[in-house]
Subunit: 155 residues, 2 copies
């Protein structure tokens, strides 16, 4: 049972609906989900006073250079981050959060948390862990270089 198409379809529509919900929640802040994701990441992952480059965001968020560039761009336009050129490497930026960003931090976290809680209503913590593990496995299956070249192993 549960054919490919059913799962695939469900996965896709869940993806879209979640994004839509996130989008509508973020709307009052004037942010879209792309910006929201980046901003939240910066808020949560980058310790006080530190800074990251876009390159690092690419890695950490697993999103293409281009997408990061544009997201940061609009975040900068909206005065949530500033791009300072790095002194020791003038190609790279040091992305820093503005006070405006700091100010909405709690609200942003609240929003994401709310969406999350709504999603997992009635779901056991343990089930979520399993789901998470499963998704990681699947992601790994895909990252395993296309051809099964031989005896790969894993952690």
């Amino acid at each position: 049972m549960t054919s490919i198409r059913e799962i695939w379809g469900l996965y896709n529509s869940l993806f879209r609906v979640t994004r839509q919900v996130a989008n509508s929640q973020l709307e009052p802040l004037g942010l879209g989900s792309a910006e929201g994701n980046v901003l939240l990441h910066l808020l949560v992952e980058v310790p006080q006073g530190r800074s990251v480059s876009q390159e690092q965001l690419v890695e950490q968020l697993d999103i293409s250079k281009g997408a990061i560039s544009r997201a940061v761009d609009s975040l900068a336009q909206k005065d949530y981050v500033v791009r300072k050129r790095r002194e020791d490497d003038k190609r790279a930026y040091r992305l820093q959060l503005t006070p405006k960003a700091m100010a909405i931090a709690p609200e942003l976290e609240r929003i994401y948390n709310e969406v999350y809680l709504r999603a997992i209503e009635g779901v056991e913590q343990e089930e979520m862990e399993q789901l998470f593990a499963l998704m990681r496995r699947i992601a790994k299956n895909f990252s395993q270089n296309t051809k099964s070249s031989g005896g790969e192993d894993d952690a």
Copy 2:
């Protein structure tokens, strides 16, 4: 501890990577994933000689009118489906598969199956069922009309 961001990030990147894999597999057929999804659905779900309207596709695939319109459009352009105006309701179409579509049917199914098998390598059937059930629950949580207005039920 599997924060929201981790799960959300993983979910998103899994979504993208899967789409990319599908896209690259479909490329030789000259199809994108959007077209592929629609075409596969038509092939599998619509019995010989029957036809569907775009409206029905909207429901069955849970994708907006607009997206369906465009997908069908390019499918028609590529000669995989024909749109015949319905006699009894000239607004609606009867979408029918062309011989060209029939011809690639096995290949298309093979492709989707391959992607699927690659995804679930090393995953128990049972785990997939659980995942599926879980996703359905989450989808339901979201579809529950924003505010918990009272005692909604469903079929």
